[in-house]
């Protein structure tokens, strides 16, 4: 390295050092918000991730049994010490009323385990002396099954892939290998596929309907364009719930759209619109349209109109001038608008809940059901991990192609 190079590096380092206080000052202004978001936004999401993998039940309720299982060969029925430990653990569980927690957790993986654990706990509470092994097996033959014991042993780990696997319609066989969840239990890939499909459909419709609007906005006289812009921005400003309410009313069987269709003789009897896929996609398209229109418009506005004229004067026909000169230049706006609409559509909850039928519920709706109705927080969190993963993947694509600083509001 020559002396000049070293000088250059020294100067560079000196400049970096001189800039450091300014960088620190700039960063310290953003620090309160960053710290706030870490506590009030990132931490809750991380907590959700931990809930998706957390596995406290077996460890807390069966500590002695898990120790006794350490030397078990994994293929035969365990020996008496394991059952003695199980009896001791379940006796305490009965006193602390924690047996139900364990039963609920094991029941996710082996159906029927809830009642087996509860009756075993009742029995253990009354048992004074051993041998315990034959009493448990006498209560239910599942207590002799190596498969049941491998599931118990596996769930001694602090973390479990169970919920995430379930959210992807996968399960772990007793020997640890992965297999597809069977038949009617396998619903979640269908829900995920439906969510992606509806989001894609909404994105496509907003593009088809929004592109002409954005274009006409750029060629309309200023006063007209101003009014048109108002008509795009006002819905964006209106509460999502108000817009959804409007659609609930419009789509009623005795509602305005059916009246209109019958008045126009497009149909002779009332059509079911509310609680259908058509209704859901229509309402979501309506809500998402401004998000697609605005980025396309802001790109179109910067394309000089003289270019189309130049293309025409050079001999291009109207359609080839459009497709080969104009449309390619609008692509950045199309990508920005479509990615934004797709990302936001993935997370819809309110509109499918109020306008959709049971077959139109998206991943978000299932998360809510598992939290509120089934109280299966682990599975809700597992579904959350899948939804968050898909969303963040597309957000990264958005950051790469468009950039976070390109998001504008009207």
């Amino acid at each position: 390295m020559s002396a000049v190079d070293i000088d250059r590096i020294n100067v560079f380092m000196a400049v970096r050092k001189a800039e450091r206080p300014a960088r620190r000052a700039a960063f310290s202004l953003a620090l309160p918000l960053i710290a706030f978001l870490v506590v009030a936004f990132v931490a809750p999401i991380l907590y959700l991730l931990v809930t998706a993998f957390g596995n406290p039940e077996t460890r807390e309720v069966l500590p002695r049994t898990l120790v006794a299982l350490e030397n078990w060969d994994g293929t035969s029925t365990p020996e008496e010490p394991v059952y003695a430990a199980l009896a001791a653990d379940l006796k305490i569980a009965k006193d602390n009323s924690t047996a139900a927690l364990l039963g609920k957790r094991l029941n996710y993986e082996i159906s029927g385990m809830r009642s087996r654990v509860l009756s075993a706990a009742r029995m253990a509470d009354k048992l004074e002396t051993g041998p315990y092994k034959e009493k448990f097996i006498g209560l239910h033959q599942d207590w002799a099954s190596p498969d049941v014991w491998s599931v118990i042993k596996r769930n001694g780990a602090s973390f479990t892939p169970y919920y995430l696997l379930t959210a992807l319609d996968l399960q772990q066989a007793p020997d640890g290998s992965l297999e597809r969840t069977a038949g009617d239990q396998a619903i979640f890939l269908d829900v995920l596929g439906r969510t992606l499909f509806v989001a894609g459909l909404v994105t496509l419709f907003t593009l088809l309907l929004g592109y002409p609007v954005a274009y006409v906005l750029t060629i309309a006289p200023k006063a007209v364009a101003g009014i048109m812009m108002l008509m795009v921005l006002l819905p964006l400003w209106t509460s999502l719930l108000v817009r959804t309410t409007a659609w609930v009313v419009l789509l009623q069987s005795d509602g305005i759209i059916n009246d209109l269709l019958m008045a126009l003789h497009l149909t002779s009897e009332k059509i079911q619109l509310i609680f259908t896929r058509i209704g859901t996609v229509t309402a979501m398209t309506h809500i998402q349209l401004p998000f697609t229109i605005l980025p396309i418009y802001s790109v179109m506005r910067s394309i000089p109109t003289t270019q189309l004229r130049a293309a025409r004067s050079l001999g291009a026909g109207p359609s080839s001038a459009f497709w080969r000169v104009y449309a390619p230049q609008t692509l950045p706006g199309v990508v920005a608008g479509c990615l934004m609409t797709f990302i936001l559509s993935l997370g819809y909850y309110i509109t499918p809940a109020l306008v959709g039928g049971p077959r139109d519920q998206m991943v978000s709706n299932f998360i809510s059901v598992y939290i509120n109705r089934d109280l299966n927080w682990g599975l809700a969190a597992g579904l959350g991990v899948v939804l968050l993963g898909v969303t963040l993947a597309i957000y990264l694509l958005f950051l790469r192609l468009v950039g976070a600083d390109k998001i504008k509001l009207g």
């Binding site: 960063f27 953003a30 978001l37 108000v242 009246d259």
Partner: protein, 269 residues
């Protein structure tokens, strides 16, 4: 300037079709919003047009019902607190991030914008489980914290946009003339970026006032907000009182939107 003079007949037809489609889409955008207004003034509890007889009975119902009134008060309090918190935090961050020497800007910006991107149910469920550890579910504090996180991206975006047109020489001039950093901020910078700050505040207020999903998870009957009350109403049995509530929310949105439009117009001048 709807059509260039060299347009062929087929091009004219095409252009007419595109304009017609655009007009139809704009009607599709705006009509559903205003359909609820006449329905809320109808005497009959049916959702059909034309309205046979007008009355204010659903508004009487709305304003006479303590449940709706508590819900409005709850929403207003949460929204005002959210606005104050989000506007302060967001404006400070925008001031920092707009400086030329801000480190790792792209990364920080991606984090600050992410509350807009993450599915709302994930925020709601995460807050419900996490804040529950500290006894903050079913409290106003928990709701305001979660709403503030959701509202800050809007403040950051609007204030950053205003700052991009702000002449930093003004700050330098004030400092060189002997003003302290804080009086420079309050007497020079802040008045200049005020339209952006107020726009951000309006966005923050609207975000909190209209938000349903987080509020559904984070509130009990006592903190129930207006959107939650509406949501439960539509779920059970949709009734015209909800139309009255929706019409009032629509009026509020129009007012906020008008304020914002006036602000941005002044900024352009």
């Amino acid at each position: 300037m709807w059509l260039p003079s060299y347009a062929t007949p087929s091009e004219r037809l095409m252009r007419t079709l595109v304009v017609a489609l655009a007009v139809a889409v704009l009607l599709f955008l705006i009509a559903p919003l205003f359909i609820i207004v006449p329905l809320s003034f109808s005497k009959d509890p049916f959702f059909t047009l034309p309205v046979q007889e007008y009355s204010l009975r659903w508004y009487e119902d709305f304003f006479g019902n303590p449940r709706w009134m508590t819900a409005i008060a709850n929403s207003a309090i949460a929204a005002v607190l959210t606005t104050i918190l989000a506007t302060t935090l967001g404006t400070l961050a925008a001031l920092g991030i707009s400086r030329a020497d801000f480190p790792a800007r792209r990364l920080v910006m991606a984090l600050l914008i992410s509350p807009m991107i993450v599915p709302i149910v994930i925020v709601a469920v995460g807050s419900y489980l996490f804040f529950g550890q500290f006894g903050l579910t079913n409290t106003r504090t928990g709701l305001v914290l979660a709403h503030t996180a959701l509202a800050t991206p809007f403040v950051v975006i609007t204030v950053t946009a205003t700052l991009s047109t702000y002449d930093t020489n003004l700050t330098r001039a004030a400092l060189s003339l002997g003003a302290s950093p804080s009086s420079t901020f309050f007497r020079v910078t802040l008045p200049n970026i005020m339209p952006g700050v107020v726009s951000g505040a309006i966005f923050a207020f609207a975000t909190s006032f209209d938000e349903v999903v987080v509020a559904l998870f984070m509130t009990a009957a006592e903190q129930r907000t207006l959107p939650v009350q509406m949501f439960s109403g539509i779920r059970d049995q949709i009734n015209p009182t909800i139309m009255a509530a929706a019409t009032l929310l629509l009026a509020l949105s129009i007012m906020l939107f008008a304020t914002l439009s006036l602000l941005t117009r002044r900024r352009v001048r």
